[in-house]
């Protein structure tokens, strides 16, 4: 379970996250939606202990991420948008190292690594150095590493960016399966379509404030109430819409000449 209790975070004078109140239950897949700079990554960085909230409290399975960061992190699996792997380790060595960090004994670690290699189809390259991997391969190894200790909470920052359709599908299936097994999944994304397809609930954040929390069905109902033709229009409306004239400037040949 994840609990944000009136969490705020400032960057200098800029309020990046403003009074975020949100609880994500066990076994729930929550998609955090918003445009660039809305506060999604800041919220995730606070959740995984990289950033401290300026005010408020954040708990993972009951552990305060500031005061009990080690315990909170032991229950988390985190995949950033650009996962880090050691260039000079093979995928297998990296996974064994991660298993060790999560306190898995060597025999259990070997078994889990074998399990994840099979699950993510890593066998063909897992013994090569990570420096030779493509973005998709790195993402799969990072996912395998995040799942080795069967985390109770899975946090993903833009997990599908830059991946081919097969890998995107693999991740979507995986996240649904984990949520069905009781794992809390917290995912940030730009893609309304992905959220619509797999999320139990979505949160729309704009300029640091949570504008909407609910199921996709509830979002659709609200969209109809507000007379918006599509979820996309609803989303754009909530997040400030397109800048006036931006669409027409981009679509009209020569309209932006001399400015762009």
């Amino acid at each position: 379970m994840i609990e944000f209790r009136n969490v705020s975070r400032t960057y200098g004078r800029k309020l990046a996250v403003d009074g975020l109140d949100l609880t994500i239950r066990d076994g729930e897949l929550f998609a955090f939606l918003g445009p660039n700079g809305a506060g999604k990554t800041t919220s995730i960085k606070m959740l995984v202990g990289l950033l401290r909230p300026s005010s408020g409290e954040l708990r993972v399975c009951g552990f305060d991420v500031v005061k009990e960061s080690q315990q909170a992190n032991s229950l988390l699996g985190y995949i950033p948008d650009e996962p880090y792997l050691y260039d000079k380790l093979s995928g297998r060595e990296f996974l064994l190292f991660v298993a060790g960090m999560f306190g898995l004994a060597s025999r259990a670690a070997e078994e889990r690594v074998t399990r994840e290699i099979a699950r993510f189809d890593l066998a063909s390259f897992v013994d090569d150095l990570c420096e030779s991997y493509s973005h998709g391969m790195k993402q799969r190894v990072a996912l395998a590493g995040a799942l080795l200790h069967d985390p109770e909470v899975l946090v993903l920052d833009e997990p599908t960016v830059g991946l081919d359709p097969r890998s995107v599908r693999l991740i979507k299936d995986l996240l649904r399966a984990r949520a069905a097994a009781g794992t809390t999944v917290f995912m940030s994304t730009h893609s309304l379509a992905i959220a619509e397809e797999i999320a139990d609930r979505v949160g729309i954040v704009h300029q640091g404030r949570l504008r909407f929390v609910g199921t996709v069905g509830e979002l659709r109902q609200q969209s109809e109430r507000m007379g918006q033709a599509s979820l996309e229009q609803m989303f754009l409306e909530m997040t400030g819409g397109l800048a006036e004239g931006a669409s027409s400037a981009l679509l009209t040949p020569g309209a932006g000449e001399g400015q762009l």
Binding site: Y84, F97, M101, L174, A181
Partner: protein, 606 residues
């Protein structure tokens, strides 16, 4: 939410029930895990380097051994000279103690600053630290891991410079085996003291002065530089005695006593090692020396351990908060405008093709907006400038024209070698980096040849002014003849052109389009080859242009003297041949690599 068929059944977790909470590692278990990580990284790096960059590894090993052996010989000669020049044991010991004291005191200051900078970059700017902070590893372990890496990076120079000096003293002083064994723990314990101080400084500055960390660093570095300048001034200002005379030694010793404060780790180290060098079992004084040495080793080690523990404790308390504070700084957006420098260069390059001019200005803009490039340029050339300014003293003290000429030739070679490191580090990778953006340049109405020529002109013209200024400064300070100044100017133009041609041509012939780090591209096979070819070009060019000049000047001095062996007319012919050969070599070093590079660049696929 739509129902989709899973891609594979394996996606379902092993057990539907949530697993037991993962256990946290104990400190020893964490230590063992990170030792295993380091072992794996080291083994894989070595295997990979031996498989892919055998030339680079061999060259680096040979050059390191060569440098180490050269330093050993140099220090041996120095200590041997001291033993002969100061036969009285008490004064001799005092002199060595002062030499050690000043060497280790300077190293202490340098290690504090370098470790602080390296630890800062490892703890707060590395992806690895960010990754580790999201795992259940203790903050203290993350700090320790990065601190040990930082210590290794900052102290290898000390080990490379310090070990030959200490070994050389041991040989001259006929030290017992205990001395050589004691060197290792003494050096290891010593480097941990300034290293830990540097790390503590870094942690506290980031935690409490996150917005002013650069100013704090600049103030610290400025203070250290002022101390260094004061020391140099106090040593050399208003010297009363003649150079290298016994009075001079005594005067220097009395001036350097400030480095002998008994609270300085440098004093513990130098005293401990000097005692170790005279220790033994034969008589009472040798046994006392042994005990004293062990005592100083204990003092150095215990202080190192205390500071190390203090650094780890401070890290546990400040690291994560400092990290959070640092990354939550709001990035300042600078409105970049066309600087006066760009406008001046554009005006100066008016005769060139406008497209060529724009490409050169683009590279200039990238150069001046990248502090890594221009600060290194400034530091190295600034240090060379300081050294050349101080060569004036040499021209007075060593009143021997041949030596002065030789030093001026060596200065020319040094300028060339420093320039070659810059062309390897910054110019060679330019084509590889440009290749990654080839979809922009490749589609512009600009010929590919022009891209390479713009890089060449940028490097050659950009390096010409600082290099010729330095060479003229060196020659003026040394007071060499005008003929040497003109030959050096010509050699400098040829060096700038040739080194730029080699770097641009080889960079285009051997691009590394996979890597986006210029330092890694420069450290690859192509970069190593570039450095080796550049060094060979410098040595041959300098020899061709300066050796005949040297002999020609000698022949002029000998003219009319009895027993003269050099004929002026013959030497003049050699001089002309040398200059012509140098010009030919310079033109070849420019044209040949450029032709090869242009050929390869035309075939490069975007």
């Amino acid at each position: 939410m739509s129902n989709v068929e899973p891609l594979t059944d394996d996606l379902n977790p092993v057990s539907p029930a949530l697993p037991q909470r993962a256990s946290l590692l104990t400190a020893p278990a964490e230590a063992a895990l990170f030792q295993q990580l380091k072992r794996n990284l080291l083994t894989n790096t070595l295997i990979d380097a031996l498989r892919r960059s055998r030339l680079r590894v061999s060259l680096a090993t040979i050059l390191t051994l060569f440098l180490w052996a050269g330093l050993l010989v140099l220090f041996y000669a120095g200590f041997d000279f001291l033993e002969d020049a100061i036969p009285e044991p008490a004064t001799h010991d005092e002199t060595v103690r002062v030499v050690y004291g000043i060497f280790f005191a300077s190293l202490t200051v340098m290690l504090v600053i370098s470790t602080a900078i390296i630890v800062y970059s490892g703890l707060y700017c590395s992806d690895e630290a960010t990754f580790l902070l999201t795992t259940p590893i203790r903050d203290e372990r993350v700090f320790l891991h990065k601190f040990q890496q930082g210590m290794l990076f900052s102290s290898w120079g000390f080990l490379l410079l310090g070990s030959p000096m200490l070994v050389a003293y041991g040989i001259v002083a006929r030290a017992p085996w205990f001395y050589y064994i004691a060197l290792i723990p003494f050096m290891a314990a010593f480097v941990y003291i300034p290293g830990s101080l540097g790390a503590i400084l870094c942690l506290l500055v980031v935690r409490y002065l996150p917005k002013n960390r650069m100013q704090a660093l600049m103030v610290g570095a400025g203070f250290a530089a002022l101390c260094g300048l004061w020391l140099v001034w106090s040593l050399f200002a208003s010297r009363n005695s003649e150079l290298l005379t016994p009075d001079w030694f005594l005067e220097m010793i009395s001036r350097l006593r400030s480095s002998e404060n008994r609270l300085f780790p440098s004093w513990w180290l130098s005293t401990g090692l000097l005692e170790a060098a005279r220790s033994g079992w034969e008589d009472e004084s040798e046994r006392t020396a042994l005990v004293e040495s062990v005592m100083f080793l204990a003092v150095t080690s215990s202080n190192a351990l205390v500071l190390h523990h203090l650094a780890v404790w401070i890290a546990g308390w400040t690291y994560r908060t400092g990290y959070s504070g640092l990354i939550s700084e709001h990035p300042t957006r600078r409105k970049l405008s066309v600087a006066w420098m760009d406008r001046a260069v554009e005006w100066l390059l008016r005769p060139l093709n406008p497209k060529l001019r724009m490409l050169i200005i683009k590279d200039l803009r990238l150069f001046r907006r990248d502090p890594v490039q221009w600060t290194q340029f400034l530091i190295f050339f600034g240090l060379l400038g300081l050294y050349f300014l101080n060569t004036r003293r040499l021209s007075y003290d060593v009143n021997y024209t041949s030596w002065v000429n030789m030093i001026s030739f060596l200065n020319l070679a040094v300028v060339g070698l420093i320039l070659s490191t810059f062309t390897t580090r910054f110019i060679f990778p330019m084509i590889s980096l440009e290749g990654r953006r080839f979809w922009i340049l490749g589609r512009l109405p600009v010929g590919r040849d022009m891209i390479l020529w713009s890089k060449y002109l940028f490097a050659a013209i950009g390096s010409l002014l600082p290099c010729t200024t330095l060479i003229v400064l060196s020659d003026l300070m040394l007071g060499v003849s005008p003929m040497i100044v003109w030959i050096h100017m010509l050699a400098c133009v040829l060096l700038c052109s040739g080194l730029s041609g080699i770097a641009v041509g080889l960079g285009a012939k051997m691009p590394d389009l996979r890597d986006d780090s210029p330092s890694r591209i420069a450290a690859g096979f192509g970069g190593t080859l570039n450095l080796v070819l550049s060094a060979a070009f410098i040595v041959i060019l300098v020899l061709m242009m300066t050796v005949p000049c040297h002999f020609y000047l000698l022949s002029m001095q000998q003219e009319g003297q009895p027993g003269m062996t050099l004929n002026e007319a013959t030497q003049r012919n050699w001089l002309m041949a040398g200059i012509a050969g140098g010009c030919l070599l310079g033109v070849t070093a420019t044209a040949l690599p450029m032709a090869i590079g242009i050929g390869a660049f035309r075939k490069l696929e975007a």
